[in-house]
Structures are given as structure tokens and as C-alpha cells.
Subunit: 310 residues, 2 copies
């Protein structure tokens, strides 16, 4: 099966790894030929690193599945699926989707990695608008499996299903978002938690590191292998309904204190940033991101091993 | 160092494991002598299981640190720290704290595991109210390190500091909650996320399993070893302030749609419960909880090994 990755920045590179690891032939195209060359080299280096971490078996074989293409026509020839990763600018999305729809084989599904622009904003006038949808990954998708799939009102169910099936086949965890909404699911959940986190620090109940510890050494442990619903389902003898009976009143009372929508003030953001910079000086951010990526790799391996044991 | 665990239900048993593993002598007392005997047997079994999982080195040696006591006086003799775990009933807390304050050595810190009753509600009239605070664990604390420490307005800073130091010494991760508030930090964060989760399913954007996957195969991975603040700090080149500049508008827009405080309706709870029961029949809840505990053990070991590698 051939797929095309359009736009080979960080997200495009990561998708190429996902598809190659999943057994696909991966055509790569970028409007900037030099960027495409750099991307192929960067992907090869990342595949070696993943092999060193035990997360892919044969980096060279995966590298051989990459087909950098000089033209969009060549990249799209014979593909079943297209993953677009250009900048988050509406005019760019409109332009590239018009070209993709004109050039890709009639049966190919066309997806965008955008996190912020709904498919309805750039596909309405396309003859093939029924085959267009969002496939929003979390960076990097070869370590974080979830992919949010969200069509426009006119997206055909079988296009969503085809994307869903491909994601499962290449080892991702697709989540179908049934109607368009800002932030999809993941960033709305993150936003709800961040708002309370900002509020608790602003009001002086806890400091930044204490709040982070409450998640990373507390709630985040269950959430790393169960979701919030399964967590509460297992936290009362009779399951979720029993849990809501026991703790619904507490959460109702808390919710009534969580309704402020004041924008995060520059003073608050500066204070939080200052706490983070005291914990991690700015000149260590790059190194800490490498640490995070190593930890994500180790956690991915751990979860794979634990799932095999189950 | 001797500590006392007062009330030996599930939470008291788990605390006994934490303190024994942390090198303390652990006096155990329960108003029900038969319950105390059962608790000691259950703790011994749990210690064996932890040894089998590589999480304690010598279960028998830890078992030898447990001192079941027939009287409260014996349990409190010479202790530096008391962890109370009786039922979540205000009158019971008032009664036991009066007894603890009367009987414990003057320098001992007195803590309660309560998740729902602030220290100010049951310590105001005690001569030793300055040494009383909440030490709220997540179950089970020998696998989930975070402990929320929250005093009443009259709790002495050195009592909080002593509890904090003991928690660090026995391998927990204390988080100081600087003023009393309902739900402390952890359940307020959980509540904020749950409210959005319930809303998203209620409004038909996603199903229960899709929402859980968004966390367990997405956000929850980072949150298992970083908190939400460190996560965003590393997700923009310039750190947290840069992140807020880039995405603050998105989160502001989302927040304005997240203000409803309608109670969770019985219909909604029933619908969510039905989805969970389709995923996990009620007769498999017990078995799934054992799976969860095994996964928490494996994750605890993984995190310990990863931290050693750092």
C-alpha cells in the first residue's frame, strides 16, 4: 500500500516513520526540494535511534520504503491515502487540497494534520470534498498513538472508515470525532485541566512544581494506561454509576467554582514562566526535550511489553 | 522512627506498607480487633506480591516492622507521626483526633487521610491543633507517590514541614496545599477534566472509549512523567510563556464553551455507565481492578528504572 506524506517538516517526518513502520510505501513531497533532502536524512537518523531503543527492528528496511518525489504528481501516483502537513494557514490548506483533489487517484483518502483548522473551512468547494478529513496526530505520532479523525459535514463515512482502518493497521489509535469542534477532543481536555491548573496557582493554593507532581506522581499514572472514564469506573465497587453517586456531589460543588473565563493575564503567565525557568533554565530546554523524547520511547516500550503480558 | 497507623482498612493497610518500606516501625491500631488481625494478614500478602513484582526487596523484614497494638495508648507510645484512616464522618474525625491529641507524645504530628473533610472542621478546639493536618494519599500510596498535605489556618508550619520531610524520607511525593479548599488539588484537576469529558460524550462528539483513548494513548503518556506545566513548557521553542502566546487564544476560546455547571443528569450517567458495561461487564470489574493494580506496579517499576537511567 502506498501513502503520500505532503510537507516534510517535523510532523511530516514523524508520519513517514509511522507509515514505513506500518508496512507502507511512503512517497514524500515538499515544496522545498532542499527541505525534502534534509527530511529524508533526519528520518533515517530517527529510525536508527528508534532501533537503538528497541522500537523498530530494521531501520534500513524502513528507510528503503521512503520514496522522495520531485513532483506532487509523482508522489500521488497510485496512492490510497494522503497525509498533508503544510503550515497552519487557511489559504495554504485551500491551495494544497485543491491540488491534491485534482491529482490523487479517485479512491484515495485525503487528510490533513491540522490541529486548528476544520476540514469544512478548506474543502467545501472541492469535487472530492467527500474524501477529505482531518487526521490530527500528537507529536511525535510514532511514540504517541492517538490520532483524532474529524470530517466536515460532507465527509463520507467510508472515507473516515478507510482512515480509521489504516491507522489501526499502522499501529496508531484512531479516535473518531463525530462532529467538528474547536480543539477536537484532546486539546479541549488539556484546556479544561490547564485552566484549573492556572487558577490554582494564581490563587496561591499550590506552586507550579507541586501541581505538576500531583499529575505525574498521581493522576497521570492511571491515565497513562486507562482513560478518565475507566479510572472512575474502577474506583467504586459498582462501577461508573456507583462512582457518580458517591462523588458526583463533590464534583458538582467544585465545578461551580471553576467557571471563570478571565483570560490568562500577562502577569500570571510571567509568574508561571518564572517558576518554570527557576526549575529549568531556558538554556536547558533543548536538552530537556531530548530527555522527554527518551522517556516517551521508554514508556512506549514499557506499554508494549505490558500489553504483551496481559 | 516509629509511626502509628490508626484504622486499618484498605488505606491504613497501604500506609503501613509505605512506612515499613520506608524504614519505619509501624504501630497499627483499629477499634475492631478482628479487623486488625485481618489487616496484618492482608498486608503480609500484599508485601509478598510486591516482592514478586520486584518492588520491595525483603517482604519478611518489612512484615517484622509491623506492630499490631491492642490499645490506642500502646500504638501511640513514642511515635513521631500518626496517620489516621477512619471512616469519612465528621463526628468520627472529631472524636479520634481528640483522643490522638490527648495521648500522642507532644512532638508527634497528627495527620488524617481524609479526602473530603478539611482539618479545620475537626481540630479547632484541640490543645494541639497546631500539629494537625491532612495527608491525603492516592490509593494505593505504595504505588502512587503523591500525598497532598493541607493544614488548617492554625496548623504550624513546622508540623507541615515535618510531614513533608517524612513523606520524602519514605519515598512519597508530598505536595503542599497552601490553603484549605474542597477537593484539594488532585480531585479538582480530575473534576475539571471529567466535566469536559462528560460534556463531550453527552453532546455526541466522541464515545466513552474514544475519549479514554485520547488520554491513555495521548495526553496521559506525557502526564505520566511530566506534569501539565512542564508539558506545555516543552511544547513551544521558548517555553511556557511562548506556548501561552501561541495557544492562549485557542484555550480562551475553548474555555468560554466550558462553563456549564448543569449537574450530571441520571440519564447521562446511565448512558456512560452503559457504554462502560458494554466494554467491561460488571462481573469483570473485580478482575479488571487486579489488572489495574498489576499495571500500576509495572509502571512504578518502569518509572523507577527510568529515573535511575536519567
Amino acid at each position: 500500500m502506498k501513502v503520500a506524506v505532503i510537507g516534510t517538516g517535523l510532523i511530516g517526518q514523524a508520519w513517514a516513520i509511522v507509515f514505513a513502520r506500518g508496512g507502507c510505501d511512503v512517497a514524500l513531497w515538499d515544496g522545498d526540494a532542499a527541505a525534502l533532502d534534509r527530511a529524508v536524512a533526519l528520518i533515517a537518523g530517527q529510525l536508527d535511534e528508534l532501533q537503538a531503543q528497541g522500537l523498530v527492528d530494521d531501520a534500513a528496511a524502513l528507510r528503503a520504503r521512503l520514496q522522495p518525489c520531485a513532483t506532487l504528481e509523482a508522489a500521488l501516483a497510485g496512492v490510497a491515502y494522503v497525509q498533508e502537513n503544510l503550515p497552519e494557514v487557511l489559504a495554504i490548506k485551500r491551495d494544497i487540497f485543491a491540488r491534491l483533489d485534482a491529482l490523487a487517484p479517485p479512491g484515495a483518502v485525503l487528510t490533513s494534520s491540522t490541529s486548528s483548522i476544520p476540514a469544512s473551512a478548506f474543502t467545501e468547494d472541492l469535487p472530492g470534498r467527500h474524501r477529505c478529513l482531518i487526521a490530527h496526530p500528537v507529536n511525535p505520532p510514532y511514540l504517541v498513538p492517538v490520532v483524532e479523525l474529524c470530517g466536515a459535514p460532507w465527509t463520507a463515512a467510508d472515507a473516515v472508515q478507510a482512515a480509521d482502518a489504516l491507522m489501526v493497521r499502522v499501529g496508531q489509535r484512531p479516535v473518531i470525532v463525530k462532529r467538528e469542534l474547536e480543539g477536537f477532543i484532546l486539546n479541549r481536555l488539556q484546556g479544561a485541566l490547564l485552566r484549573e491548573a492556572f487558577r490554582l496557582v494564581e490563587q496561591g493554593y499550590v506552586d507550579v512544581d507541586g501541581l505538576d507532581a500531583t499529575i505525574r506522581d498521581g493522576l497521570g499514572l492511571r491515565w497513562a494506561f486507562m482513560g478518565p472514564f475507566e479510572t472512575i469506573d474502577l474506583n467504586a465497587p459498582g462501577g461508573l454509576a456507583d462512582y457518580c453517586g458517591r462523588y458526583g456531589g463533590l464534583y458538582q460543588s467544585i465545578a461551580e467554582e471553576q467557571t471563570s473565563t478571565e483570560p490568562w493575564s500577562p502577569q500570571l503567565v510571567a509568574a508561571l514562566d518564572a517558576e518554570r525557568r527557576a526549575l529549568l533554565p531556558a538554556d536547558q530546554l533543548v536538552q530537556r526535550r531530548l530527555w522527554r523524547d527518551k522517556r516517551l520511547m521508554q514508556l512506549a516500550r514499557h506499554k508494549r511489553e505490558a500489553a504483551q503480558e496481559d
